[in-house]
């Protein structure tokens, strides 16, 4: 009796498997096109943002704009009654200064922490550290700005005896603290995705843990680690609120790490509210936005080329 039931079930199952099902094919088609639209939207949004920024900046770009003035003049007087000047050199230098400063701190600390968490520490510490680092990542940037103004500022003035507390040094530290969680989290993912068989194979050859990390794990996770660093750089270039509060917001070429500067992002954020829509000032701010887009795109592009080169060599 039981045997018969099972036989019948088997027959039904094999009929089901062999049977041609147009419904399933239709479902696959629909799913495929939804996924395709999802992919397409990423392209459309990217191009759309570019076009929008260019469109808003275009009247200025096509008339008064001079690339020489924009990149080499340090005089940024967008609302002067006598003669407006749009020299953004100091803003570019300011952005570069805080980005480089923060990365000098954040890359070694972030990658080092990622390696420690992934390869050296015990499972309990690992859990606690990961939670704390994620918490660090979730602190809003304006809170970092408060820390810059209320903690770092008096510290620099009273302990380091510098006249101005809001400067490149201050902003670099704040930006580093903001980028480190991101670098750690993505870097740790990259290191964890290296298969354990590599670790075992290398250790069974008599390598110490440190040798395994330096010679095997880091080269294997290289692409992910570079991605982690670039996201950190992207964060530093694009961060607005905290640097607006921490840099001192003064248009000048810094002559030391304790000079105040102003960044591209902070300029847009601070001046956008006063610039009437469609005015020349408004258009120059969009030109700055366009420059920021170009900077981040070229960072991504260069890293792409670097990664591809390192693959080809192998």
């Amino acid at each position: 009796m039981m045997g018969k039931v099972i036989e019948e079930e088997k027959r039904q199952l094999s009929d089901y498997i062999k049977h041609y099902r147009p419904k399933q094919i239709l479902r696959d088609r629909i799913m495929e096109s939804i996924i395709f639209l999802g992919g397409l939207s990423a392209v459309i949004f990217t191009i759309g943002i570019f076009l929008f920024v260019i469109k808003e900046a275009w009247p200025f770009l096509s008339s008064r704009f001079s690339l020489m003035e924009f990149l080499t003049n340090i005089e940024w007087y967008p609302v002067s009654n006598v003669s407006v000047r749009y020299g953004a050199k100091a803003l570019f230098v300011g952005t570069a200064a805080v980005t480089i400063g923060s990365m000098v701190l954040a890359i070694p600390v972030g990658i080092g922490t990622a390696i420690f968490i992934s390869e050296f520490c015990g499972p309990k510490f690992k859990e606690v550290a990961k939670i704390l680092i994620e918490l660090l990542a979730s602190i809003p940037s304006v809170v970092w700005g408060f820390i810059a103004v209320m903690v770092m500022n008096p510290f620099i003035i009273n302990v380091l005896h510098e006249p101005v507390g809001l400067n490149v040094f201050n902003a670099s530290i704040i930006l580093a603290l903001m980028s480190i969680p991101m670098i750690v989290s993505i870097g740790e993912d990259a290191l964890r995705s290296v298969p354990d068989t590599y670790r075992e194979a290398a250790e069974s050859l008599g390598a110490t843990r440190l040798e395994v990390v330096i010679r095997v794990i880091i080269p294997a996770a290289k692409n992910g680690l570079i991605a982690a660093i670039l996201l950190g750089v992207g964060r530093a270039v694009g961060e607005t609120m905290a640097v607006l509060m921490a840099t001192g917001h003064s248009v000048a070429i810094p002559d030391s790490i304790f000079s105040p500067v102003r960044t591209l992002t902070a300029t847009v954020a601070a001046e956008m509210g006063e610039a009437p829509k469609g005015s020349e000032h408004y258009q120059t701010l969009f030109t700055i936005g366009l420059s920021l887009l170009l900077i981040t795109f070229s960072i991504n592009f260069i890293s792409d080329i670097l990664l591809r080169k390192s693959w080809k060599r192998k």
Partner: protein, 251 residues
């Protein structure tokens, strides 16, 4: 008859589940000892204990001791010294993500050898011993993970030989290699026996019979018996279970 390795009362468990129970086993210098037994018997765990790879697995508890040349390996804090004396070939091929040359010279380099001439000699010698030299000699700078599975497995063997181990542990070395190459490597193992002691974990009973001097049968974490291979494979076993396994009645 010098005892190269002496396993004393070795007991191991993984997450509380017992995987090896009170193993006492000696490996004699310059012999090939085959370890046979059905899947999940603890053969691989035994090898992991021998080269202290068990340190790597936090869930694994190990008791007892393993003596190498009469000296406890478990008492040593620095496991790298022990691992340099023991070569290990894992069942699945692992080409480290670096060039073929760097794969084979990795162990000598971490052991402190810097002379490029010596490194090159070691590399050529090891690749020849693992029957891989002819296939890769023109592309030593290629990344090793691009080799085929079988080639990577032979690379793993070359790597295990590269630090001149006193003991070579082979865990199912032939599952990713074709029969012809397997035979070539088996011939080489018979030669290597003069220089080192070999522990061969295998699921292929014929391989154990062809190669080994003695055979140990492990079943569900217990060492059932150890005997001369010719006795074990001619039906002269102490345990009925071993006989049944060899005759293919279970396993």
């Amino acid at each position: 008859m010098k005892e190269k390795i002496k396993i004393q009362n070795l007991t191991a468990s993984y997450n509380g589940k017992s995987i090896l129970r009170n193993i006492n086993l000696s490996v004699i210098q310059n012999e090939i000892l085959a370890v046979i037994g059905p899947a999940n018997s603890g053969k691989t765990s035994l090898l992991r204990c021998i080269n202290r790879m068990c340190d790597f697995i936090p869930e694994m508890d190990v008791e007892g001791d393993i003596l190498l040349d009469g000296v406890s390996t478990f008492a040593k804090r620095d496991s790298t010294v022990i691992r340099r004396r023991i070569g290990m070939v894992s069942p699945l091929p692992v080409g480290l993500p670096m060039s073929i040359r760097d794969n084979v010279t990795f162990a000598p380099k971490v052991a402190g050898c810097k002379d490029p001439v010596i490194l090159e000699e070691i590399m050529e010698d090891c690749l020849k011993k693992s029957a891989l030299w002819d296939e890769v000699k023109d592309r030593l700078d290629m990344i090793a993970t691009k080799l085929s599975g079988g080639q990577q497995q032979r690379l793993t063997i070359a790597r295990a030989l590269s630090h001149f181990p006193e003991v070579l542990c082979l865990d199912e070395f032939s599952i990713a290699i074709d029969p012809v190459t397997t035979m070539r490597i088996e011939e080489i193992l018979k030669e290597l026996k003069k220089e080192m002691t070999i522990i061969l974990v295998t699921n292929l009973n014929f391989q154990a019979r062809r190669l080994s001097d003695r055979t140990a049968m492990i079943f569900e974490g217990d060492l059932l018996e150890v005997g001369a291979t010719k006795d074990v494979f001619s039906g002269n076993t102490q345990q009925q279970k071993t006989k049944d396994y060899i005759e293919g009645l279970f396993g």
